[in-house]
């Protein structure tokens, strides 16, 4: 088994994506129209960033539940900073998220508190910060509405927003795949004890992972808020669900150490195509919720049956029995 980019599991996911696409196109030919593909990618733009961030924490064997709150705060900061221009506003908001992520990662790495628990506390706290900044939605001044128009400017099926997402995820994928610190994170997530024995720094992977997840959540929140020309303190609560589901659908293992950013991209697209398809069939918005939940449970079951320690113990048993059979036949 040598290294391959297109593993069978990735190919099967691409296959599912194509199948869904063709199926929805067959049901409603309009599904493959430029404008619809464009809107799928617009949905991908925001969900992709969050999924990549949450997925990164999953790769190191942790989970960041606070992404939705961070996105809300970043969105408010970005909208309030649009006076400095689009790019500075997004950069300021993302930088704040980065600092927050570094601090959160450092505390988790330092204290060894389970990240699920700790990020529940920060989820509340950061949401509070969002409400403290503005109790109601802030609107972007009309004269800056050009920034929103720019973000959704249609380039073929893409927009500056979705292209940003694609660039960021590509960079993250390269970092995790080919940079030393990135490989250390994968090693850390895959086998913590072995990584410790190999002399790895045991805090760096956690800190980087939480810095990435917060930064990407901040980026997603700021871009999405500027795009809609308003930021509300209560928005982006559903981001976590979408992010985790997409990462799992994309083949990121809950047990850590396994998964690629390209897989996450496929996972997000599968989810977006599915929700767009459901919407194109005229179903209400909340059916998406139902579908996402059901998909999440399905993927969980599939992953469990193929990846979990229990499954491994079972396949070891089968292997041993085969070996026994092979030995006993000639004798």
């Amino acid at each position: 088994m040598t290294y391959k980019f297109f593993t069978p599991s990735l190919l099967s996911r691409i296959g599912i994506l194509l199948f869904l696409w063709l199926a929805f196109t067959a049901l409603s030919p309009n599904f493959s129209s430029f404008s619809n593909v464009y809107s799928v990618f617009e949905g991908f733009a925001i969900a992709g960033l969050v999924a990549a961030g949450v997925g990164t924490t999953m790769l190191v064997g942790e989970l960041d539940l606070s992404v939705g709150s961070v996105a809300a705060v970043a969105g408010i900061i970005a909208v309030q900073c649009t006076g400095f221009g689009l790019v500075p506003a997004v950069l300021i908001a993302s930088a704040v998220a980065l600092v927050y992520g570094l601090a959160q990662g450092w505390i988790i790495a330092r204290t060894g508190i389970n990240s699920l628990v700790f990020t529940i506390a920060t989820l509340i706290l950061v949401r509070g910060v969002a409400f403290a900044m503005t109790p109601t939605a802030v609107l972007m001044p009309m004269d800056r509405i050009g920034m929103s128009d720019f973000l959704i400017f249609r380039l073929f099926i893409f927009s500056p927003f979705s292209l940003t997402t694609i660039c960021v995820i590509t960079a993250l994928g390269l970092f995790l795949g080919y940079a030393r610190w990135g490989r250390e994170m994968m090693a850390f997530g895959g086998a913590r004890n072995e990584a410790r024995a190999a002399g790895l720094n045991m805090r760096r992977p956690i800190i980087i992972a939480f810095a990435i997840s917060a930064t990407l959540a901040g980026l997603a929140g700021s871009l999405a808020s500027i795009k809609s020309a308003s930021a509300a303190p209560f928005s982006y609560e559903g981001m976590l669900l979408t992010g985790v589901t997409a990462a799992l659908v994309g083949g990121v293992s809950l047990y850590g150490g396994k998964g690629t950013m390209f897989g996450v991209v496929i996972g997000v697209l599968i989810l977006r195509v599915l929700t767009a398809g459901i919407a194109s069939r005229g179903a209400a918005v909340y059916v998406e919720y139902l579908a996402t939940g059901v998909i999440l449970l399905l993927v969980l079951v599939v992953e469990f049956t193929t990846e979990s320690p229990q499954r491994r113990a079972w396949s070891e048993r089968r292997a041993f029995e085969r070996q026994l059979a092979a030995v006993s036949v000639p004798a």
Partner: protein, 325 residues
């Protein structure tokens, strides 16, 4: 290998730890009472205290149920809110359809039980509890919206129900139910083999397995308890407001988890009590009530709550690390 001196000295320190947690929580309650009483005199009025405990009751009931999940070492459930929502909706629909009250209460609770059992089976099989409950919550919420079409369901009960408004001995019925459930769960955890099993699994599931304890059964039962208790919250809400909608319990998951965490139940499982969780819910309710009286903004209230929860998590983690190393 430790010396005899060490082993003789340490246990005493550890024995006091569980009590120290209780004392710390009780002290916390008293401090909040005194400080708030001094700064906001109306805080200590009987009416306000009753209102505070009543506010704590719904979150407290769900949190007490969730404590079972936490004790088995399966962290928390993120589908509590949605379970409460769907129970409330089913209850309101049943009442609206003219069912007798007992049926309108029992059938939705049975549904909650099934919801809990399914998640419990998944988790007992080895699936991650956070993700399982996150997914289940989304699915349940979707179903709740589908069956209501996102509209408010009127229970259409002519008189307000006693289950919502009765005040035996001047104390709201919700508080009575809360207190009774806390007492029952305390007894269950301390005095039954199920309760013992739950705590032992959380302490060390490998040892529990090798000791022949019935892990699957206890985990599934814990999820059922958490789910049914969430359902009770849903029913109580319908009884109080005579209607139900999908947005009734927004943010409930977080409040409930916060109560469990502030109560100091070990998130790794094995240690904690429903009494402490209840105290945690009351601390948070008192804090919120005080902040409301002092006219803090919603954002400030959330930030302070976040700090209290985070501080509790770090503090309990630190104390446990100290005594187990």
């Amino acid at each position: 290998m430790s010396t005899i001196v060490e082993t003789a000295a340490k246990p005493r320190l550890v024995m006091s730890r569980a009590k120290a947690f209780n004392v710390a929580l009780a002290v916390g309650v008293v401090v909040v009472l005194i400080v708030s009483g001094l700064t906001q005199p109306e805080f200590l009025s009987a009416d306000n205290l009753v209102a505070t405990v009543r506010a704590a009751a719904l979150i407290g009931i769900a949190a007490v149920g969730m404590t079972f999940i936490t004790l088995t070492g399966n962290f928390v459930s993120l589908s509590t809110e949605q379970t409460a929502v769907i129970t409330a909706i089913l209850c309101a629909m049943a009442l609206g359809a003219g069912w007798p009250m007992w049926a309108a209460v029992v059938v939705p609770l049975a549904v909650a039980m099934v919801i809990g059992a399914l998640q419990g089976i998944f988790v007992a099989l080895g699936l991650n509890s956070i993700i399982t409950t996150l997914g289940a919550g989304a699915a349940i919420f979707g179903i709740a919206n589908v069956i209501t079409n996102s509209k408010t369901i009127q229970a259409r009960v002519p008189d307000p129900m006693w289950l919502g408004t009765a005040r035996p001995l001047g104390i709201p019925i919700q508080v009575w139910i809360f207190v009774v459930l806390v007492l029952i769960t305390m007894v269950v955890l301390r005095k039954t083999s199920f309760g013992r099993t739950v705590k032992m699994i959380g302490s060390n599931s490998n040892t529990a397995r090798s000791s022949g304890l019935r892990i699957t059964r206890a985990v599934v039962a814990s999820f059922i308890i958490a789910s049914v208790f969430a359902g009770i919250c849903g029913v109580l809400l319908v009884a109080q407001v005579n209607q139900a909608k999908t947005l009734n319990f927004t943010g409930f998951n977080i409040d409930v988890v916060a109560a469990v965490l502030v109560g100091g139940t070990a998130i790794q499982g094995g240690e904690g009590s429903t009494l402490r969780t209840a105290l945690g819910a009351i601390v948070i309710a008192m804090l919120t009530n005080y902040m409301l009286l002092a006219q803090y903004e919603y954002g400030t209230r959330l930030i302070i709550t976040g700090f209290v929860v985070g501080g509790a998590v770090i503090a309990f983690n630190w104390v446990r690390g100290k005594s187990s190393s």
